[in-house]
Structure formats: C-alpha cells, structure tokens
C-alpha cells in the first residue's frame, strides 16, 4: 500500500513539477536563454493568488485567469525592452542579465512582502479523499488537474494556432523561419511572455499547496532546471516526462534513504543525465 501511495504522490507532484518547468523549457528552447528570473515569477504568481484571496476574496481559480494576461504582458515587455538588446550575445551575457533581473524582482518582493513564510488557507478547507489506504488532499488534486489543463492548453496552442506553429518553427530553425516570413523578434517576445504567464499560473497553483516566500524562488528554479534536462528541452511532452521522473525519483529516494537526501538525489540525477543523455528522455540527438 505504501508503494501505491508513493506512486500517487509522485504522479500528483510530477504534474506540478511539469507545470513549473514548462515555461522555463519554452524560453530556453525557443530563445536559447536560461531564464533565471523564472523562479521569482512563480513566487510572484503565488503572492498574486495569496493577495487576491486575502484582500479581495477572489478564489485562486479566478486568480489563474487574472495572472495569465498580467504575467504575459510583463514578460512580453521585459523581452521587448531589455532582453532583446542582448539576445544574440553569448550564453554568459543573457544568463547574467536574467540573474540581474532576478535580483531586482526578488529584492522587491522581500521589500514589499517581507521574507516571512505565508500560507494561503482556503476556508472552508477542502479536505482529502481516501480510497482504500491511499490518501490524497483535494486541493492538491485540483492543483494537479489545473496544471495538466495548462499543459494541455499550451500543447494545443503550439500545435493548432498560427502563432504556436511559428514558435515551433523558430525553435526548430531560426534562419529558416526568418526566410519563411516569421517575425522572429515578436515571436521571441511572445514566447517569453508565454513562459512568464505559465510561471505565474504555476505560482498560483503552488500557493494552494506550498508556503509562500521570496526565498523559495531558487528551489523552484532548481526544479525547473532538473525537469528540463531530464525530459528534454522545449517540448511539452518532455517537460511532463521529466516532471514525473523527478517526482518519482524524489518520492522513492526519500522513502528509502530519507527526505534529507531528496534534493541531492535529484541533482545527482541531473548531472548523470547531462553527461549520459543531454538531450533528455524524449529529446532527439542534435536537436537543440
């Protein structure tokens, strides 16, 4: 029974991990930028959900709808005004730029919200479902379902819409996309905006489950790194596979050798994957 519980937990957590990582993966895949501000975006989304619920009484499900366009606009402008200026510079420059942005955003959050841990507590509490001996909290289940829905939405967007096809085209071959008449600059901005929107929405969902603090942003960023590398870059299915694998390894690892080692385990897994299979679980070789 313990095994089933671990498996279910991993499944629930894995979908959330995928949701955390997917925007990061999109930005990395399309813009070739390691977006270090992603973790702070997630925390900002969590604060948005918390504030909306605490002060305005808006339930987190609606906060999701507010967060998406807000974060999209934020990300779009950030890319257009700042990142675009150095987009063709080497890895180091874009990475350091997003690090600087992250410092600013994180500091602003510590300044306004303080570094205290806060928790969004729904009233009345949603309780939990127990089937045989397996227990799953309902809020976690809803968050997972929403995460899956978001992932599915992005998948559809990339598959069906014209903008989505353009994003995929730029990701596959930038020069060819330019020749086909795709406006790469605006696609970059849209992709970055989408990444930010997904981070914001992931943050709203995280607020339901985890405590909120500006200090947690690096933990989210770390998860996003690992999931991206495990699953493969820039693809929706890759992020899902990576999220599930990470959650599974963490779950089994912390059951067998103790939760203190879960983070170490995930990063060791990351390094092994980087060396042995850098294209990720679902990635194709030479496709980066």
């Amino acid at each position: 029974m313990l095994a089933v519980q671990v498996l279910i937990n991993a499944l629930v957590l894995g979908c959330l991990y995928a949701c955390i990582a997917i925007g990061f993966s999109l930005v990395w895949g399309v813009l070739n930028v390691i977006n270090l501000i992603h973790g702070s975006f997630i925390v900002l989304g969590a604060y948005l959900a918390w504030g909306a619920y605490q002060w305005l009484g808006i339930s987190p499900w609606y906060a999701l709808v507010i967060a998406a366009p807000l974060f999209f606009a934020f990300g779009y402008l950030l890319q257009r005004l700042l990142l675009n200026r150095v987009i063709s510079a080497p890895v180091l420059v874009t990475l350091t730029l997003t690090f600087g942005l992250d410092l600013i955003l994180n500091n602003a959050m510590i300044y306004y919200f303080k570094a205290d841990y806060r928790k969004l507590t729904l009233s009345p509490p949603t309780g939990s479902i127990s089937l045989f001996d397996v227990v799953v909290p309902v809020d976690r289940l809803i968050a997972t379902a929403s995460a899956l829905a978001l992932t599915g939405l992005l998948y559809l967007l990339l598959r069906r819409s014209k903008v989505g096809r353009a994003i995929v085209a730029v990701r596959l071959d930038r020069d060819a996309a330019v020749l086909m008449g795709v406006d790469v600059k605006s696609i970059y901005a849209i992709a970055f905006g989408l990444g930010a929107a997904l981070a914001g929405c992931a943050g709203v969902l995280m607020a339901l489950i985890f405590p909120i603090s500006p200090l947690t942003s690096s933990a989210y960023l770390g998860k996003a790194f690992v999931v991206c590398v495990l699953g493969g870059l820039g693809s929706v299915s890759g992020a899902l596979a990576g999220g599930l694998l990470l959650a599974l390894v963490e779950g089994i690892g912390s059951t067998l050798i103790g939760p203190a080692h879960a983070t170490t385990l995930s990063f060791v897994l990351l390094i092994i994957f980087l060396v042995v299979r850098p294209q990720g679980l679902l990635g194709r070789k030479g496709f980066e």
């Binding site: 600087g100 600013i104 770390g222 990351l270």
Partner: protein
C-alpha cells in the same frame, strides 16, 4: 613579460601597502578585495581563456573552506591545511572536469551550477563531519591581538592572490593558454589538429578551482565560523562573472580591475541601501551588460591609444 602583466603586478604590489594607511576596516576590505580578485582571476582561466561559462566557484570555495576547517579542527597547522585543501580542490576539480567539461554552453553552465547545490546538500547532511546546518566553529589560530590577526590574514590572502596572478600569467603565456584559446575559438578544430582538449580543459578547471579552494580555507580560518548557506552561496559563483564582465573577459588585468571596482560598488551599495542592496546590484549588472558589454578594459582603446580594434 608584457606591459599589461607588468601593470597587473604593480597594482598587486600597491595593494600590499594597504596596512600602512588604514585600520581594521581597511584591512577587512583589503582581504575581501584580494579574495574577489582571486575568484575573478581563477574564473578567468576556465571562463575567459577556455570560454566555458562555469558557475562552480562557490562549490570549490565551500569545499576548500570546509576541508581546511575540518583539518584545522583535527589540529593540523594552518599552512598545511590550506595547501592540503588546495591540492584536494585541484584533484577533485580535474576529476570532475573530465566528465563535466564534455558538456558545452548552457548544459555546462547548469551542471556547474548544480555542483554547488550537490556540495551544499552533501555538507548539510554529513552532520558528523561538518556539523550540518549548525555550521562549524574553527579554533582561533593565534592568541595575538585583533589587528595583528587581521594583518596576518590580509597578507595570507594577498600572498595567495600574488601566486594566483603569477600562475594565470604563466598559463596565458604558455602552451596551455594557447591551447585553451584554441578550444574557445573552435573546439572541434583544435581536436582535429591533435590537441588533447579533455586534458587541457581538466587542467584549466583544476587550476581555476584550486586557488578558490585555498582562498576558502583562508576565509574559514579568518572568520572562525562557517555554515553551508554562507560558503556555498551561489552569489560567490556569479560575482566573479560580473567582475570579469566588468573588467573585460579574458584579460587578467581587466578582470583584476573589475574585481576591485565591483567590490567598491558593492561596499557603497551595502552602506547606503542595506534594504535594497541586491536590487541595486541587479540594476548595476543590467546597466553594465547593456551599456558596457566589453568591460572597462574596452574604454581604453580609442581613448588613450589609437589601436586596431578586435572584431
């Protein structure tokens, strides 16, 4: 000995005269300045010469600090402990380098970044040896006064800086430096002409780690108390990169100046905007990248001498 190297040595010699002018505060700043310069010069070996964006500085700083601290607690003299952690860092980094440096670009950046996390978690969990999250106390090295202690650690750090600078100069003038330059420009091509790039990169990674580790050791003995979140701070990885970008990638003199300018800025920001210091730092980083992408060293050409610009 080129003119630039000579200038670097003269600058370092000037730093040594610092205790003549200031009190304990000047000594503290001087020690940190030397430490930052060691970081930046070390990072420059792998990041500037070989062109690999390494974020592993904090990992080896922390490793060196803990290695020295544990040795000191076992009663080993300071000199032996620092040299011991220098050698250990070199071997560890060279061994890790053979694996990690097969990755390129973003992937290497992430692998080196996660090295910091792995080391921190390992130290956090090895409570018996390292004290875990409670940190580790280090016995006082000498019974002499505070100022004498501060002067001693300043000169220790300065001496290490001198050695680092000398090694960086030797590397940049040697076959190794030439090979690293080739690797930066085109690794596949340098492999083709028979350069053992794995060996070169590993040695470079080892060299870039060992002095940082030794600096970590001196730091640990200097502050008498270390804990994982302090010495494995990811900012220690990022700061050298900012310094190098500030001064000019690849040029030891530029990187050295970058370290000092950065420390000056950091100190001013700390003093005046304690609440928002990291935000101000972020703004500085962004301004630097947008308006001075080639560093302070790029100001020189065209301003003072008319030389052909690199393309």
């Amino acid at each position: 000995m080129t003119r630039v190297n000579l200038a670097l040595l003269i600058l370092i010699a000037c730093v040594a005269s610092l205790p003549l002018f200031g009190g304990a505060y000047a000594l503290r700043i001087g020690t940190i300045a030397c430490m930052y310069a060691i970081f930046a010069l070390s990072w420059n070996i792998v990041g500037g010469f070989a062109g690999y964006p390494s974020f592993a500085t904090a990992a080896f700083f922390g490793f060196g600090a803990y290695a020295t601290a544990i040795l000191l607690n076992k009663g080993v003299p300071l000199t032996v402990a620092v040299i011991g952690s220098l050698v250990m860092c070199f071997l560890l980094a060279a061994a890790l380098g053979t694996v990690l440096l097969r990755l390129r670009g973003h992937y290497f950046a992430i692998a080196s970044l996660s090295l910091v996390e792995v080391f921190r978690e390992l130290v956090n969990n090895a409570t018996d040896l390292t004290g875990g999250g409670m940190g580790l106390n280090i016995p006082l090295a000498s019974g002499s006064g505070i100022l004498a202690d501060a002067t001693f650690f300043f000169y220790a750090m300065w001496g290490l800086l001198l050695i680092t600078a000398a090694v960086v100069m030797i590397v940049s003038a040697s076959k190794l430096g030439f090979g690293l330059n080739c690797i930066r420009q085109n690794e596949t091509a340098s492999n083709m002409v028979g350069l053992n790039s794995t060996l070169y990169k590993s040695v470079a990674f080892g060299l870039s780690a060992c002095f940082v580790g030794a600096a970590g050791g001196i730091y640990a003995a200097w502050v008498h108390y270390i804990d994982p979140s302090d010495v494995f701070d990811i900012l220690y990885s990022v700061k050298p990169i900012v310094m190098a970008l500030m001064g000019g990638l690849g040029s030891p003199l530029g990187v050295f100046c970058g370290a000092f300018v950065y420390l000056g800025l950091e100190e001013v920001v700390w003093r005046n905007y304690i609440q928002i210091h990291s935000g101000v730092l972020g703004v500085l980083i962004i301004m630097l990248l947008l308006f001075l992408p080639h560093g302070l060293i790029s100001l020189r050409s065209g301003m003072f001498w008319r030389t052909a610009k690199h393309v």
